[in-house]
Amino acid sequence: MPTQEQVQDALREVIDPAFGKDIISLGFVQELKIADGRVALDLQIVRSSEEANESLKQQVERSLQGVEGVEAVAVRLTSNARSSGAPSDQGALPGVANIIPIASGKGGVGKSTVAANLAVALAQTGARVGLLDADVYGPSIPMIMGATEAPERGGRGILPVTCHGVKTISTGFFTKPDQAVVWRGPMLSKMLTDLAHQVEWGELDYLLVDLPPGTGDVQLTLCQQVALTGAVIVTTPQPVAASVAQKAIIMFEQLKTPLLGVIENMSYYESRTTGERELIFGAGGAAAISKKWKIPLLAQIPLATTVRETSDSGRPIVLEDPEAPASKAFVEAAARLAAEIAMKNANAAKPVEINF
């Protein structure tokens, strides 16, 4: 019978070409079971490309079959993500494996567009995804995701609206379009915790939270009252956006929320007629942040009229035009994000255990 070490060593030889790392370090191997000469495991996939996933699976099978004593190998592909905490954790949402705030310091960097496209791209890999729009003052997720129905009551309170395979909830669902929300901080915090806890999410691999810009009440409440997996920072290449984004990074560091990655939006503009690239907002903002704070740069999303149009029409670009450069960048960002989460959760220190 092969030992656990022999099997692990064989799996360490399987390198995912997209990340240049082995699948054990990436945390993609789940539920590894060895019984007599049979090895069974779940292999987490983070891409929707059947070809790439199938090729990785075959590599795993080949590598395991080379181990002495292995008679049969069963590899099951799964898009279920490992959870970042124990279900008993204070602040954990039941059934939700990972909660990921999407934040920026500065407003207007395209945070909601990035959040919506990431959510749809993750859902396309087969993962179960939720999207919580926490921008009480300017909720834009309903428009970007094309949500027309209002949420219904059910379960623990509210049932999310499913848009393009993503369970969506927004504060915008509860206010009329011609109404403005004029609230003070404490009411914002209450609204957010109510939304997080009273929505019947069901089983989710990822819940993305589209935060309002800044470092105020909503961000603080979320970090203190919800057990977060880690945050994603969105910025443009422009120095003024990048410098404000660092304020958000400092806030998350202070609140001990890990940072999973930075996404540079509006990186460049590619002319539709000449194909010439123009750096409208300058260059290097996100790369500098990534280097300074040691946070992975998940993707650089080009500025394109179609991104704007698809956001306004309620069909995110990853759905509407999967071949567009922006779509490919979003899909890449989603895969990298899922890998960062898998890696972090596989190697994470356990949350503190309180026996008092």
């Binding site: 204070q90 602040g91 220190a349 503190v352 255990e353």
Partner: protein, 108 residues
Amino acid sequence: MPTPVRINRHGDHDIEIEWDNDQTVVYPSRFLRLNCPCAVCEDEVTGKRIVQDSMLPILTYPTKIESVGRYAIQIYWSDSHSTGLYTWETLWALAAKIDDWKAGLKPS
């Protein structure tokens, strides 16, 4: 900076923290109450301690401990106080002060 792995009850009311650097520290509960980092117990500007030993009931002990995010715990005290968030930094720094505090309790 080490982080806590486990927080246990020690004796009747004291708090034992197992840190991930394999050190275990027993915090006398009154010592922790006196070092509560909240704005009611410590002047936010000067850092001067406001809560004094004489202000607390003779028996003051924790009734409940909850984790806050991934960076602190909140202790609910028998004197109805609960606003202090004890961060890992605070707790680790306090570990070094326990012996001095105990020494000060003995009649000189």
